[in-house]
Structures are given as structure tokens and as C-alpha cells.
Amino acid sequence: MSEQTRISLEFDVEGDNFVSAGKASEAVKGNLKMLGLPPTIIRRAAIVMYEGEINMVIHAKGGKAYVDITDKDISITLKDEGPGIENIELAMQEGYSTAPDAIRALGFGAGMGLPNMKKYSDNMEIESEVGKGTTVRMKINIQPDSEGQQQ
């Protein structure tokens, strides 16, 4: 095959807007369903997208989401220019959250965002600089024989 077919999607995630949060995740789900991918793959992509979106809304006043779909994998990149994560190791712990009380009152900020993103993706990398922003890269393998397993 000369060039692999690739679906590239780009979304603006608006900050402080809980009503529209989840829109990018919804659109990605729609695309994946049209490709007829297995429900478990779609579910995992939906969860990591949604958690990532919510994180950007809560902590970073929004950002950008880039999604690349091939017949082998789904790559998701979430980029924001928010406050950055001081201690990534701590942020990865289940139940740890820096979300303000007002956000927690809405049922968010349970400290499961990043842990769930790691749990439901096959590969996750975080780059973050305090004061500059955070980039999260995630990959979900579509073909079970390819490397990387769900943890």
C-alpha cells in the first residue's frame, strides 16, 4: 500500500464550558461508529477523550484536541496552554485532584481523570511545563496483535 488512509480530526475545546464539554468526544465516537470499530475500542476512545476534554475545561481554560485514526490505531493529542502539572507522578494517582470545590460540587474532580486515561489507552505520555501548558498523547491500538496491552 502506498499511503495509509488516515482520518484526521481537530477540535477546539472551550474552557469553563461544561455544557459543551464532551462534544469532541461525541464527534470522535460518531466517526468510530461509522468505521464499525469494535464497541470496546469505541468505549475506550470515548472515555479517554471525555476525561481529557473535561481536564482541559477544568484546569486549562480549554485547549485543542487532535485525533488521528488509521486502521491500526487511534492517536489522541490534547494540547493546552494552562497552568501545567507540577508533579505528574502525584497527578497520576487515583483520587488526587487539584480541582476547586465549585467543580467538585458538580461531580467532577474525583481524581480519576488521568488514571482513567492511562487505564483505557495502550500508551500515554504527558509533557508538562508549569506556567506554559500540558500536552497529553494517547494511543489506542485497534488490532489486538499489535504491541501494547490495556493495563
Binding site: T5, R6, I7, L9, G22, S25, E26, K29, G30, N31, K33, M34, L35, G36, L37, P39, T40, I42, R43, A46, I47, Y50, E51, I69, T70, D71, N116, Y120
Partner: protein, 419 residues
């Protein structure tokens, strides 16, 4: 009745259709397009919810149900009416449910089996299944067939959460037939079982056999049709006999939250109305609401009382049911009164998911199509105005990519910009 999942329970009256986009915009599965000035239903996507019937300002959408004359068919030597729980909410001052039963006997039925009885048994069977610990949580109710069809169409991942229990109407139909055969000595096929339905979704489910290996009823009548026959008959009843055999639990199934309440769980959610149902399903898909045990979803606002074939406003009907409850015991039916075990209540066969969302079985073909759809979508105004005859710009992009519409059908883009 033969199993038939191709049956169309909602149809368009072409002469009445004005080509407005009301139905198209409301359809939860984007199953409607307006072509050549008339609405067209794509039945492979239709879940028979009845939203289009409800919103059509010109009464151009019709629900297809059996004509009342079906009960006169000579095949049937003994005819049994199965009233839905919501039917009790349609009448003024019905302090005594027996008036309704007597009315049904007056208009031509030999017997009545209240579906609320089956509902009480289904509640008990569900509680038992919960206790067995075998259900995948959160368990999603399967009482509303429009919701079940919606999940099978759009939310494949949630299929395993569906409660694998037959609908109260199927349980009622099976028990009614057995009881009548025993009582009369007639063959089972000589007994005519007729459900009085509040909605097209249940009509479809009964024809297609949702969770049952073959249809359990012989015909499905409409609550609206029966209402006008029943009303004068009920007025003639002077002293009704004590015939009704239902409790609060059975009657509760008529409205949203009723089924959930009978399961005696604390962690449950009940949502009604198509938009709310869709929002809950999307949340579940995003991995949320996992701490709940049971989720009851009803496509119609208010639950079954909101069914498009009912007469009364759903909120008024619900209020009437509430006042009726006070005369009733909690429940009147239990599985131990029957000679059945739990297997009798669980699904005889699992319904299949439908792959209408998938563009092509070959992922490479699907990807090429999807790429085109996304490209087309980018040049559209994203107004979702519906003027092109598709419910959204996204749906229009799909139609164009699949060759079912032309890009020039969009009235809001400047065609010259495309050149």
C-alpha cells in the same frame, strides 16, 4: 402471529405531508429525510419511538395498528384483552379499576388479563436476578422497546447491560393463553390475545418478538382506538364486579420511575423523554454512572403514559394514577402463585445489534468514505437548518458522500465558492 422485524409501525400519509422538517429534526436516529417535498422514513434506522407522529403539525405520520375487527376473526373462540398499565390513567374519575375491566368485557372481549399483573411478576423476577449477582451493572431496563432498539442501533457497547427479562406484555400474554386454555379446554391457537398499546414501539416489539422466540400476542390494538369504544361501555356499568388483580407495583409501571421503584434499590436513575434518554446513554458510554445499579429509560416524556397513542396529557394521567394507587395493596401477584420458575421470565433469545451506523464492512472503504464526509462537512455552514432535506449538516455530508444528495441541495453555501 409470525415473527416479523421488517414491519413498519409508523407510516407517512403523503397527501398530508407538507414537506416541513419538523419530524426530520426530531428523529433521534436521523432516520428521516425530506426528498421532493415529502418526508421519507429510512426504516432500517427507525426505532418506532413515535416522536415524528407526535411532532407532525399536519398529522401526516400514522401509527399502524390492528383494526378492532381483528377480534371478530372466527379463528378466535375466546378473546382476551391485555390493557397496558397506562390505560388506567386515561379516564376521568376512575376510582375503581373494575369499571375498565367490565368495559373491556362489554365491548367484545371474553376475558381480561391486566399487563400490570405481568409487570409485578417481572419486577419479582428482576429482583431475583439482581440477587443472583449475574447482571452487568448498571442494569438498563428493557421495558421501553424504543430505548432497546436505540441501544442496539447506536450504543452497541451497552448491549450487555440490558436487563435480559421479557416484557410484562409477553409474560402476561403467555400466562393468559395458558390459563384460558386450561379454563376453556380450547387449543392455545383458538385463543385470541390482544394487547392495547400506548405506542408504536410496543407494536413493533410484539411483531418482531423482542426477547421471545415467537410473538406472544395475536394482535395489537391502539389505546386511542379502544378509548372511544370503551368510554360509552364503561358508563353502562352499574355495579362492577371485583375483577382487577393488580397492586401499586403493577400500576406504577405506567409512569417513569415506576419500574425502578419496584426493584427496591436505592441506587437507581429514571430518565424519560428522548433527549434525556440520549444524554444518559452518552454518559454511560463515556464510562460514567457506574455507581448506579439500575437505569430506567423511557423514550416518552412521563413514561408510558406519554405514549403517542394515549389520549390524556402524560402529567394529568400520572396524577390520576397516583390517586388510584391509594385503594390498592402493594402487589397482588407473585411467581409462587404460578407454576413457573425464573427461566420462564428471562429472554428466550437475545436481540441482535444492527450495523446501520457502519459505512462499509471493509474498513478501508469505510475510511475513504469517512474522509470524504469529513471533508464535505468542513465546507458546510453548520447551521443544521434542514433546508437541504437532511436533519443536520453532518447528516447531509453523509448523504452527499454516499451519493444520496447533491452538494447543491444546500441552500446556504455559495456554489461558486466550491469551484
Amino acid at each position: 402471529m409470525q415473527k416479523n422485524d421488517q414491519i413498519h409501525t409508523v407510516k407517512l400519509d403523503k397527501d398530508k405531508c407538507m414537506g416541513c422538517v419538523s419530524c426530520m429534526k426530531r428523529c433521534p436516529t436521523e432516520a428521516i429525510r425530506v426528498r421532493n417535498g415529502k418526508a421519507r422514513i429510512h426504516y432500517e434506522r427507525c426505532i418506532s419511538c413515535g416522536e415524528c407522529v407526535r411532532v407532525c403539525p399536519h398529522q401526516a405520520k400514522k401509527v399502524i395498528y390492528d383494526d378492532f375487527s381483528i377480534i371478530e376473526d372466527p379463528r378466535f373462540k375466546y378473546k382476551i384483552a391485555l390493557p397496558a398499565p397506562s390505560l388506567y390513567g386515561q379516564f376521568e374519575n376512575l376510582d375503581n379499576l373494575n369499571y375498565l375491566i367490565e368495559g373491556l368485557l362489554k365491548i367484545g372481549f371474553d376475558d381480561v388479563y391486566e399487563v400490570a399483573r405481568g409487570a409485578e411478576l417481572v419486577s419479582e423476577a428482576t429482583r431475583t436476578l439482581f440477587d443472583s449477582g449475574k447482571l452487568k451493572k448498571p442494569v438498563i431496563s428493557t421495558a421501553c422497546p424504543a430505548v432497546v432498539q436505540l441501544i442496539l442501533l447506536r450504543f452497541h457497547d451497552l448491549k450487555d447491560n440490558l436487563l435480559p427479562v421479557q416484557a410484562p406484555v409477553d409474560i402476561s400474554a403467555k400466562l393468559a393463553r395458558e390459563e384460558a386454555a386450561k379454563k376453556t379446554g380450547l387449543k392455545p391457537e383458538e385463543i385470541g390475545i390482544f394487547f392495547i398499546s400506548p405506542c408504536p414501539a410496543k407494536i413493533h416489539a410484539l411483531h418482531s418478538g423482542l426477547g421471545v422466540s415467537k410473538p406472544t400476542v395475536d394482535g395489537v390494538l391502539s389505546a386511542s382506538d379502544i378509548y372511544f369504544r370503551l368510554l360509552p361501555a364503561m358508563k353502562q356499568v352499574e355495579e362492577p364486579r371485583d375483577l382487577s388483580q393488580i397492586g401499586i407495583f403493577g400500576l406504577s409501571w405506567a409512569a417513569s420511575g415506576g419500574e425502578a421503584a419496584t426493584l427496591l434499590k436505592n441506587k437507581y436513575l429514571a430518565a424519560d423523554g428522548m433527549e434525556n434518554v440520549l444524554n444518559i446513554l452518552k454518559e454511560l458510554e463515556n464510562g460514567k454512572l457506574n455507581d448506579l445499579e439500575f437505569i430506567e429509560l423511557n423514550a416518552c416524556i412521563g413514561g408510558c403514559v406519554g405514549g403517542v397513542l394515549n389520549i390524556e396529557n402524560p402529567f394529568v394521567a400520572r396524577a390520576k394514577l397516583q390517586t388510584r394507587r391509594k385503594y390498592l395493596p402493594v402487589t397482588k401477584n407473585s411467581i409462587s402463585q404460578t407454576d413457573k420458575n425464573l427461566d420462564y421470565f428471562v429472554w428466550e433469545c437475545e436481540p441482535d445489534v444492527t450495523n446501520v451506523m457502519q459505512l462499509d464492512e471493509d474498513i478501508n472503504v469505510a475510511m475513504a468514505l469517512l474522509e470524504r464526509i469529513n471533508k464535505i462537512e468542513k465546507i458546510l455552514p453548520m447551521l443544521d437548518c434542514g433546508c437541504c432535506g437532511a436533519p443536520s449538516c453532518r447528516a447531509f455530508a453523509e448523504d452527499v458522500a454516499l451519493g444520496e444528495a447533491k452538494i447543491t441541495d444546500c441552500h446556504r453555501i455559495n456554489v461558486e465558492d466550491l469551484l
